[in-house]
């Protein structure tokens, strides 16, 4: 796979839904490319194709609900960062903080119930592990250019179990090619 960073907003009309991310799966036989959008949709598709999301609907649902909860936290965080009025900002921060704490609590319990091996489900890298890492990376590193106060607010709320999840994902050989090129999230939460 390769990544393209289109000129924006010039490339907007060329995208299926005028937005990014977009995944283009090139066909091998000259038939039309398969193109999908929506980050969670792209994630689930790739995860199912490559076995990171189980085929069993119940097992998949337990992982997908974590991702959906993460997305909800992200909506509040994004709303808070972009809000311009004091009252709105305060309300959104409280919502973000409350739901972030819920997420950490839910994940901590899952990790503990799963043998405290730094994994949310099972005993190998899962879809839920990956999307969780991606989210915490946004909260501790990605968001800084929009609001530098977030990491200091989020860090004290992380539990040892969640820290272990982050470390386990970052060190996994399967994603090492990518995490080795990026800022260390483990370093960011230990700083």
């Amino acid at each position: 796979w390769t990544e393209e960073h289109p000129e924006w907003p010039q490339a907007k009309p060329e995208q299926p839904h005028g937005r990014l991310p977009v995944l283009v799966e090139k066909s091998a036989d000259g038939s039309a490319d398969f193109v999908i959008t929506e980050s969670s949709n792209i994630e689930r598709y790739l995860a199912r194709v490559h076995g990171f999301l189980p085929a069993d609907p119940k097992q998949a649902a337990l992982q997908e609900q974590i991702r959906d909860l993460i997305s909800d936290v992200g909506v509040f965080l994004g709303g808070y960062v972009q809000a311009k009025d004091e009252e709105g900002k305060k309300a959104l921060f409280e919502k973000f903080e409350g739901l972030f704490e819920t997420l950490v609590k839910v994940q901590t319990k899952l990790i503990k119930d799963n043998g405290n091996t730094g994994r949310l489900f099972g005993n190998s890298l899962s879809y839920a592990d990956i999307v969780s890492y991606g989210f915490y990376k946004n909260v501790m590193i990605g968001i800084v250019k929009f609001d530098a106060s977030i990491p200091a607010l989020a860090k004290p709320k992380l539990t040892p179990e969640v820290a272990k999840l982050i470390a386990t994902v970052e060190a996994d050989p399967l994603v090492e090619k990518h995490t080795a090129k990026a800022d260390s999230l483990v370093a960011a939460i230990s700083a």
Partner: protein
């Protein structure tokens, strides 16, 4: 995929269309044995796994309970379990994409409706997003050979998500912004109106549709 006959479901949500209408329609289309609970709120908040609704409780014949949360997850679980999403991952992704886009649009709408500042810019952005969404519906319908469905030739998750989208914006969202129904209707083509009427007539959906106001009637009024 089939489910044991003794399996029953409880859908917990508020007594509004809100974020559960797709779940209701899927349970109905599945001919599942289900009931709805409208818990006291916020009294019941702490008892829910994520402190939020909707929640789906699946009860097996021996009384065991399996619980999931989050609208999208519940919808996709029901759709997969009862055969309303194809096993083919590409086909499923096309339908799920549309539903995810609806969710984005819902967030953008609520953001705009609640804004006290910079409203004009948000209104413009939302209008563009809405136009693009409806255009997407039109494109999908045009591509499908059968004009009574968005995907394939029988009721799918996609049809239900499509119907729920218009019901949400025309029947429910006016409570947040009273002109939204008119704004949405003005962008709808006759083909989209006809498809909604057709979905509303689906025998599988009758037990739920018969208890609601007709969306089709509101579109032709």
């Amino acid at each position: 995929m089939t489910i044991a006959a003794e399996t029953s479901f409880v859908l917990r949500y508020f007594n509004v269309i809100g974020r559960a209408e797709g779940c209701r329609m899927l349970l109905t289309a599945a001919n599942a044995n289900w009931t709805e609970e409208n818990p006291e709120w916020p009294a019941a908040k702490e008892k829910q796994p994520f402190g939020r609704l909707p929640v789906l409780v699946e009860k097996s014949g021996n009384g065991d309970e399996w619980i999931i949360c989050e609208t999208g997850t519940i919808e996709r679980y029901l759709a997969r379990t009862f055969g309303f999403l194809p096993a083919d991952l590409k086909g499923a992704a096309e339908q799920e994409q549309m539903s995810d886009q609806h969710a984005d649009l819902t967030e953008a709408f609520l953001n705009m409706a609640r804004a006290t500042r910079d409203k004009e810019k948000l209104v413009e952005e939302f209008d563009a997003l809405l136009g693009r969404m409806i255009g997407e519906h039109q494109k999908i319908l045009s591509r499908n050979t059968c004009k009574n469905h968005l995907f394939g030739d029988s009721l799918t998750y996609g049809d239900i998500a499509f119907y729920t989208f218009y019901k949400l914006f025309i029947v429910y969202m006016p409570v947040y912004q009273n002109d939204i129904a008119g704004i949405v209707k003005a962008k709808m083509s006759p083909e989209i109106v006809a498809l909604l009427a057709s979905i509303e007539q689906e025998p599988l959906l009758a037990p739920h549709i018969s208890k609601c106001e007709s969306l089709a009637a509101q579109l032709t009024a």
